[in-house]
């Protein structure tokens, strides 16, 4: 670390001692755009709420108290555990986890297919994967609602085919939210896996087959472990934003499908807002995400040994 260039590979005298100076822009960027906002959020979560939004500079644990403890309507009953918000968090984790699994199940074969095409054909497929994402996420999510509503194309098709008699009520269900999440984040799964599979040396698959491994054993014992970094990156890139998503649950879900993102959004929007409570919920979400990433990092370094 001491004075070494990033990566530590350069032994050139010219760069010796320049490490800290060269890192300065990165440090400034991280400080201004990451550390400072998180610090502001952390501080706000311990302040007292002002009724029309904003805060009063008085220290209190009220926001966290409200999140975890139920003290009755007038706040004078003995505290018991408040399940509302924990329930919302649990549902969010569950939905984000399911979206991650679905994205992996669809994304891995897709990435594999693209990475095994000719070089020219690959760029066409990659381009096609990204095309829908040139349209704003809001518009895509609203369009999804139109597709699955009672009089939308999906229900009309199923009715016409005689599969169903009455339209399926899909909007405002967990299914709709899941569909929105899955659709929004699928390319974040495909692209890192594609990058990993593209680097994969297919002579390893031949070596495995040569050493009596069936296709299934080759996938399980050679391909998956070798492309694992891409899979893990894809899962993180899908899970983390799904956990905090608010567009899909807001537009496709209803009161019963409330997720963390919508909960936090509501606290900072309009007169009903409660900034310290929103900040506290954000801090709790951040803690969960950090926890997941730490567990993964720990597992990764153990695996290396």
């Amino acid at each position: 670390m001491a004075g070494g260039a990033p990566g530590g590979a350069s032994k050139s005298e010219i760069y010796k001692g320049n490490g800290p100076r060269l890192l300065l822009p990165a440090w400034i960027f991280i400080g201004v755009f990451l550390v400072a906002p998180v610090a502001i959020m952390a501080i706000y979560s311990f302040l007292t709420k002002e009724f029309r939004g904003g805060v009063i500079w008085e220290f209190t644990l009220a926001a966290y108290d409200q999140f975890f403890l139920d003290r009755g309507l007038f706040g004078d009953e003995p505290p018991s555990i408040e399940w509302t918000y924990i329930g919302i968090f649990w549902r969010s984790i569950w939905q984000a986890g399911l979206a991650t699994v679905l994205c992996l199940l669809i994304g891995f074969p897709t990435a594999w297919f693209i990475a095994t095409r000719d070089v020219k054909e690959r760029s066409v497929w990659l381009f096609l994967i990204t095309v829908p994402y040139w349209v704003n996420l809001l518009i895509r999510t609203v369009s999804m609602k139109f597709l699955i509503r009672d009089t939308g194309p999906l229900n009309e098709l199923l009715l016409a085919l005689g599969v169903i008699d009455t339209p399926l009520a899909l909007v405002n269900t967990n299914f709709a939210v899941q569909l929105g999440l899955f659709y929004s984040y699928l390319p974040f799964m495909v692209l890192p896996i594609y990058a990993a599979v593209e680097r994969y040396d297919f002579s390893m698959s031949e070596a495995a087959a040569d050493l009596y491994a069936s296709s299934w054993a080759t996938l399980r014992l050679v391909i998956l472990p070798v492309v694992k970094p891409g899979i893990v990156a894809g899962c993180i890139l899908v899970f983390v934003p799904s956990l905090g998503a608010f567009l899909a649950p807001d537009l496709l879900g209803g009161a019963k499908t409330f997720m963390i993102g919508s909960l936090i959004e509501e606290q900072f929007k309009g007169a009903a807002g409660n900034w310290p409570f929103g900040a506290a919920a954000s801090m709790i979400l951040l803690t969960i995400v950090m926890g997941v990433l730490l567990v993964h990092a720990r597992a990764q370094t153990k695996g290396e040994r």
Binding site: M204, A207, A213, A217, P225, V226, K228
Partner: protein, 361 residues
């Protein structure tokens, strides 16, 4: 001429008129050969000659378009690669980076249903054979190129295949290491008694290691024989040119019978020399090995030439000469014995026994 070939009791591999087409391109045009049990057999040829394609057909990574490949008499066409009792050492090794050396070497055994303890014991034994016993717990990324090459060899040898296929396994090593590994590989082959099918484009590698060599070019087998047969009695122009250095002269053969040709050399001298199978009287190509040409005083010897240049090669010196009739001819002289003629000197050339051979086209 004695051959060093191991006594082949049975054929490990029979390749019977194999044709391989990729769309409109034909990579193998009806190739046939028999590889004996315990034989070190080399497929030699320039890149694109089909040698690697043939190896991949034996391993099962490619299907043959026509013909059959038999392993100990059994047609293996219907078997996928993982059901063929052959193992491969890949050119770039294709080691599994996420496994230790020991796990790499025991991989095949575990797939065959061996218990973990048996597989590890066998893997350790093979690692000892390739002198990597102390590296069992390392990962491939922590090993040098030469060590990785030996892991690849150990991994392929561990399941005791009937035939070991080696796809240019030495090409990624530097020269010194390559020479050391050659003799090691040969020793391991003798010790294990497994038939080796070795693919290379390096004729020196082929000559030093093989019991027999199949020289291939453009999807055809040009000649199959022991290294000595291939070098001393090349059957055609391609083999003579590809194996070692040679001079090819356009000559007229007056008569060819019983494998002996009567040749009229440029300059008018006559020569009687062996003829390859298929060589006919008339216009033909004569191969003259540069190291079997001697120098003589001008006017003596069968050919008259002028020295144009020298190339010093350490043990030898190459003389680039030109005949009176205009053809260039290379002569290779050992350094130290006699004075090397100066540039511009005129000299006679003696064609020693075994230097000349009339080729078929």
């Amino acid at each position: 001429m004695t051959s060093t070939a191991a006594v082949a009791t049975a054929n490990a591999v029979e390749i019977d008129n194999v044709v391989k087409r990729y769309g409109f391109v034909t990579a193998l045009h009806g190739v046939s050969m028999q590889i004996g049990d315990g034989e070190f057999f080399t497929l030699l040829g320039p890149s694109g000659c089909g040698k690697t394609t043939l190896l991949r057909c034996i391993a099962g990574f490619e299907d043959v378009s026509e013909g059959a490949i038999r392993l100990h008499g059994q047609d293996i066409a219907p078997l996928p690669p993982h059901k063929r009792e052959v193992n491969t050492v890949f050119q770039q090794y294709a080691l599994f980076p996420h496994m230790t050396v020991l796990q790499n070497v025991s991989f095949g055994l575990l797939r065959l249903g061996w218990s973990v303890s048996d597989a590890e014991a066998r893997a350790k034994q093979v690692l000892e054979l390739v002198q990597l016993g102390q590296f069992a717990e390392r990962r491939p990324g922590q090993l040098s190129g030469g060590q990785q090459q030996r892991v690849a060899l150990a991994r392929a040898l561990a399941p005791r295949p009937k035939v070991l296929l080696l796809d240019e396994p030495l090409s990624a090593l530097d020269l010194k290491l390559r020479q050391a590994v050659r003799s090691e590989l040969k020793a391991i082959q003798r010790e294990t008694g497994i038939a080796f099918v070795f693919v290379t484009h390096d004729q020196e590698e082929a000559l030093t290691m093989s019991d027999r060599i199949a020289v291939m070019s453009a999807g055809h087998v040009q000649q199959i024989g022991t290294p000595r047969e291939i070098y001393e009695a090349p059957s055609n122009r391609f083999v003579a040119d590809f194996i070692g250095e040679t001079n090819l002269l356009d000559v007229t053969a007056n008569r060819v019978s019983d494998g002996i040709a009567e040749i009229l050399l440029p300059g008018g001298a006559r020569l009687s020399c062996p003829a390859a199978l298929g060589a006919r009287a008339g216009q033909g190509h004569l191969s003259l090995r540069p190291e079997r040409l001697g120098i003589a005083a001008p006017g003596q010897g069968q050919l008259q030439a002028t020295v144009e240049d020298h190339v010093y090669l350490g043990t030898d010196t190459q003389l680039h000469t030109r005949l009176g009739s205009g053809e260039a001819l290379v002569v290779r002289l050992q350094n130290g014995a006699a004075a090397i003629p100066e540039r511009g000197a005129r000299l006679g050339l003696e064609i020693e026994a075994g230097a000349a051979r009339l080729l078929s086209d």
